[in-house]
Each structure stands twice: as C-alpha cells, then as structure tokens.
Amino acid sequence: MIELKGVSKIFTSGVEALFEVNLHIGKEEFVFIVGPSGAGKTTLMKLLYRDERPSSGSVIVDRVNVTDLTAEQVPYLRRNIGVVFQDYKLLPKRTVYENVAFALQVTGAPRSQIRRRTMQALELVSMLKRASSFPEELSGGEKQRVCIARAIVNNPPILLADEPTGNLDPQTSWEIMELLDKINRRNTTLLVATHNKSIVDNMKRRVVALEGGRVIRDQQLGVYSH
C-alpha cells in the first residue's frame, strides 16, 4: 500500500529531516511511527500526501509514484488519504456537521450523498448528538473525533494520524486509539505518529522508530523503546 525507497528530505534551510528511509507498509496494516520530536515523523507523513516532496528517492502510495504527480493530480491522491492532526484544524465558524460535510462538498460529492455519508461518519465516531455544536463548545477528545470523522468521511483506504493524542489526557487518548483501531479493522491502512509510550506499548502493533531522520528499528508487535 505504501512504499518508501531510499527517501531523503533535506529542507532548503539545510535541515536533514529524513535520510535514506526504506519502508513498506501493507494493506490494512496498523503502524506506529515513534521517535522524539524532530525525528522526521511529520515529514514522513507529509511526503505521503504530497504536502512535501522528497529530495531523493521515491514515495509510492497505492501503486502510484506520488513524486511524479502534477499539481492537478495531487487532489485525487489526497482523496485516498485521510489526515488527522494533533491540533484538529477544525473550521471554527462551522458546526460539527458542516466541518465534516465540508470535506465532501469541496471534493464535489453529489448532494444526495453528502448528508447520508456525513451522518454515517459522525455516527462512527459517536458525535451524532453534537452535530449542530460549534468546535469551541467541544472538549479536546470530541474535537479529535470530529477531525477523525472528517478524515474518513470520504472512505479513504489510508488514514494518517499525526500525534492524534498529543493534546489529550490518558483516558481520552485511549478512547481515541480505540476509535482509530476500530477504523483500522474496517479495512483502512493506518499510520499513527506518536510519542505516547503507554499507548504504543499496550496496543502491541508494528512499530517503526525514527531518530535523526533514520529508521532505527522496525518490529512487529513492538514497544516504544527497548
């Protein structure tokens, strides 16, 4: 599903974010990307949805070499990838429903489908009851659920979550991880970048550890650190 071959990323500022990264992630896998801040986790994710381009090497998503895509093709790549952020990035002047429906509206989904699919997504993340609330009225965990609903409303085969529990308390973090796990089991390839040790250790999934832009460990049923 996802393949990185000899990927390096050096920013124009000279910062070396990734170096010779090789990574293969199969369909419907659940992978933790762990490592300290600045290890390259966010950069790696941004390469997948072409928010950044690699300096060298190739990034292949769903058999498509993302590096070669033209600016006109990028939107279609992104419809296959849902992204969840640490800071949610919800639009403050829109309700929960509108935030989720927005993702369908701007990709030109037919109007007949928008309502149904938005409701389904909100149902899945247990936020149907808060559909008409505004983001400022929600708790952190609820905001993250809305962010997840927006990421999956298009039914993308791949979901990327960058520090999804970074701003949440341990209990809420667990609930969010359970939700992501549920989505993974509905045939979605899932990448979670995190430095939440207890979650990684308890979930017992594949762990890819980054440090200084290099993959230093890649193990099935892994833990956060040795």
């Binding site: 949805y49 006109e72 790549l77 927005f102 509206q105 701007v106 927006r150």
Partner: protein, 298 residues
C-alpha cells in the same frame, strides 16, 4: 463546467459566508470599486458629451459655394444634382440671391435701414451643401470649387479641424486614463480580497488536504469578487445617474443652447458599461487573489 454548475449553490453560500466574515474588508472593497467606477463613468459621460457637442456643431456647418452671375432655374437644378453626386454630400440647397437679400433685410430691419445705404442687392446666388461627416469637408470643398460656375467656396475647416483634434486627444487620453484607472482599481481590489483570503487560510488548507481541486477552491472567491463588483458597480451607477440627471436639469434650464446629452440609449450604454466593468473588476480581483495564494502554497 456542468459539474461545477451543480455545485453553484455551495459556491454562492461559501461566497456569502466569506463576505460576511470579512465584513469590513468587503465593504472597503465595495467602496473602492464604487469610487473608481464613478470616476470611470464621469469620464465616459464627459467624452460622450464632447462627441455630442462636436456633432452638433458640425451638423450646423456647411459649405457655401457662391456662383457668379445669374442662373436659370434649370441651370440651378442641374448644378444641384451634379453637386449631390459628389461623394459624402447629403443635402444641397440653392439659395437665390433675391431671397437671401430679402431674409437678410428682414433680419436686420429693426437695426439698420439698408435701403438707404444700398439699393442694389450685393449678394451673389449660392449653394449650401451639407456633408455626412465634418472630416471630408475640405475634399468636398475642392470638388465643388472645380465647377466653372462656382466663384468661391467657403467652409469653417479650421474650426472643425481644431474640434476634431481636441476630441481625438480626449479619446486617446481617455483610453489611457481608463486603462490606468482599471489597473489601479484591480490592484486595490485584488489586495483587498487577498486580505479576506488570508483570513481563511485554514479553510483553504483543509480544502487542499481533503482533495479539493484548484478550480473548486477558486470558485467561491471568484463569486465573492463578482458580488463585490456588482454591488460596487450598482452603487456607482446610482451615484452617476442621480448626479448626472441633477446636473442636466440645471444646465438645460440655465444654458439651454448647450447641447448636453439626454439621449437615453447612449446613457443606458454608459451605465451598462460601468456595471460590466464592475463585474469584470470583481471577477478578476477574486480570481487573481486566490490564484496568487494557491501558487504560493504549491
């Protein structure tokens, strides 16, 4: 296109949302468009009135060809029909010297008694020619002078030439001025809308992230620009029409001989042009501002 049309409602809702959210900036943009278009309209009205005056003056100017000696009615008719054949001549009138003398005497009867000064009619027979456009006056005058019967040809060529060069100077200057005005307004509108675009950076980022195409992101901003342009243009037309009507009313009662333009067709055309310029300005403004932001993010 069909695909986009089906999302028109979404675009319009988004455009209104955007305008509401950046209320003050939108009003500023509308104000700027209004002022610029009013200036544009004033200029168009000015040029149209100049043109009107020139053609008014020109229509009163004609060529007078004086004839030596007497002409029989047949000769006069013959000459008249030959003159009508000259290219550009619209009307030829034979002025009999006796009639001319009579009307001259009538005109000045109260002011001086000519019969005391001269008993003989000093006026020659003449032809008055009207031409289609003032610029062919010299040509026609030359042709008329070739007739052997014609003694002298007179026309106010110099005056016409001066008026015409003035009008063309105004027109050329006007085109340049309108162009510069349009450019300046466009620049201001682009930057004003750009500020409202910057305020919605997260919206645009989310749109890009979930896979909205560029044109889809652009539409609401283009529509927002059009709305700003249409409202600004409408206000400009209102301002122009009210003030022009008021001015016309005063001028036509104070200086009734001044040929101010009250022609409904031309005025309507000018107002339509102002409205269209506003729409175009807003549309371009919206398009360019969002395109610049999208380019930066690429």
């Amino acid at each position: 296109m069909i695909n986009y049309l089906s999302h028109l409602e979404f675009f319009i809702v988004e455009a209104f949302r955007g305008m509401r959210r950046s209320g003050i900036m939108s009003m500023v943009a509308i104000g700027i468009v209004t002022v610029s278009l009013t200036v544009f309209g004033i200029f168009l009205l000015f040029v149209a009135n100049m043109g009107n005056m020139v053609s008014d003056v020109a229509s009163r100017l004609d060529i007078v060809a004086y004839v030596e000696g007497e002409l029989t009615p047949d000769q006069a008719d013959n000459l008249k029909s030959q003159m009508l054949k000259i290219n550009g001549v619209e009307k030829v009138e034979y002025v009999n010297r006796d009639e001319a003398w009579k009307s001259f005497q009538e005109d000045f009867a109260s002011k001086l008694d000519l019969s005391e000064v001269m008993r003989e009619n000093p006026l020659p027979n003449s032809f008055a020619l009207q031409v289609r456009t003032p610029d062919i006056l010299p040509q026609v005058a030359n042709e008329v002078a070739k007739f052997t019967e014609v003694n002298e040809v007179r026309y106010s060529g110099k005056l016409i030439g001066q008026i015409q060069s003035l009008v063309s100077a105004v027109r050329i200057g006007g085109v340049v001025l309108v162009f510069l005005l349009f450019l300046a307004t466009l620049l201001i509108v682009v930057n004003t809308i750009r500020l409202t675009v910057l305020a919605r950076e997260t919206d645009i980022y989310i749109m890009q992230l979930v896979g909205a195409t560029k044109s889809f992101i652009r539409w609401p901003f283009v529509i927002e620009g059009i709305m700003i342009g249409v409202i600004g243009g409408g206000l400009g037309i209102l301002l122009l029409k009210t003030s022009y009507d008021a001015i016309i009313f005063r001028v036509s009662s104070a200086l009734p001989f001044l040929p101010v333009m009250t022609n409904g067709g031309v005025l309507t055309m000018i107002y339509i042009m102002v409205g269209l310029a506003g729409t175009l300005l807003g549309m371009l403004g919206g398009y360019l501002s969002i395109s610049r932001i999208l380019k930066e993010k690429e």
